[in-house]
């Protein structure tokens, strides 16, 4: 059972455009929703995170929108740049069974063309 569903699998955007990646979750016990960015040959690194008591969080060009009732959240990258080209993972953490876990979506490969 996939706890966090992410789409699209890949995304191509022109420089200056808006990149949008969507995620949906099922477990209402999730209480922390981070996004990780991974460049080739590197480990994932935290980009931005949100807790369910707010509907939006913005950090520079990156914004998370969160819809608790729909159990969905999304990442918006404004003015996308070639340097943003990477794989993006949404994640959710909370109790799954008896353990507190960080569960990742399957990732979105973002390519920003110059």
């Amino acid at each position: 059972q996939q706890q966090v569903k992410q789409s699209p699998q890949s995304l191509i955007v022109q420089k200056g455009g808006i990149s949008i990646i969507n995620c949906a979750y099922e477990n209402t016990a999730f209480d922390y929703f981070p996004w990780y960015q991974q460049f080739p040959g590197k480990g994932p690194a935290l980009l931005i995170a949100i807790r369910p008591d707010v509907s939006e969080k913005k950090e520079g060009r990156f914004t998370i929108s969160f819809n608790k009732s729909a159990k969905q959240f999304s990442l918006h990258i404004m003015d996308s740049q070639p340097g943003d080209s990477a794989t993006y993972f949404c994640a959710a953490s909370g109790f799954v069974g008896s353990n507190y876990k960080l569960t990742f979506g399957k990732g979105t490969l973002l390519t920003v063309n110059p």
């Binding site: 994932p44 993972f89 353990n99 990742f104």
Partner: protein, 113 residues
């Protein structure tokens, strides 16, 4: 200073061999993890340790055995390697189990031939 370091970065070995991957974090974190990333980039947790105590042990073959000699180290030993074990293995750490940022190492690309 590297926050989470793992060695080696690349590991090529034959089927049936036993190998270890080492991980160290200098962040003073209480919780450490091993994740496996397959060829499709899917990240899946394998193990979680909190203060040297095993917290999470996903459905991983018992050929995989984590060892935490102290809070700053979490090593992964793999016995009788199989072709399907080929993947990138990431070590990570976080201050607590809950609601905090996980810091990842650079990964170990394991290739079993």
């Amino acid at each position: 200073d590297t926050a989470v370091s793992q060695t080696p970065k690349y590991l090529v070995t034959q089927m049936g061999n036993d190998k270890s991957i080492k991980c160290e974090q200098n962040l003073g974190h209480d919780t450490m993890y091993w994740y496996k990333q397959d060829s499709k980039k899917f990240l899946k947790i394998m193990f979680s340790y909190n203060n040297k105590e095993l917290i999470i042990n996903e459905t991983v073959p018992n050929r995989f055995s984590p060892k935490s000699p102290d809070k700053a180290h979490l090593n992964l030993h793999i016995n009788s390697l199989e072709l399907g074990d080929s993947a990138v293995y990431f070590c990570a750490s976080s201050q607590e189990e809950e609601n905090t940022e996980a810091f990842f190492g650079q990964g170990t690309r394991l290739t079993v031939v």
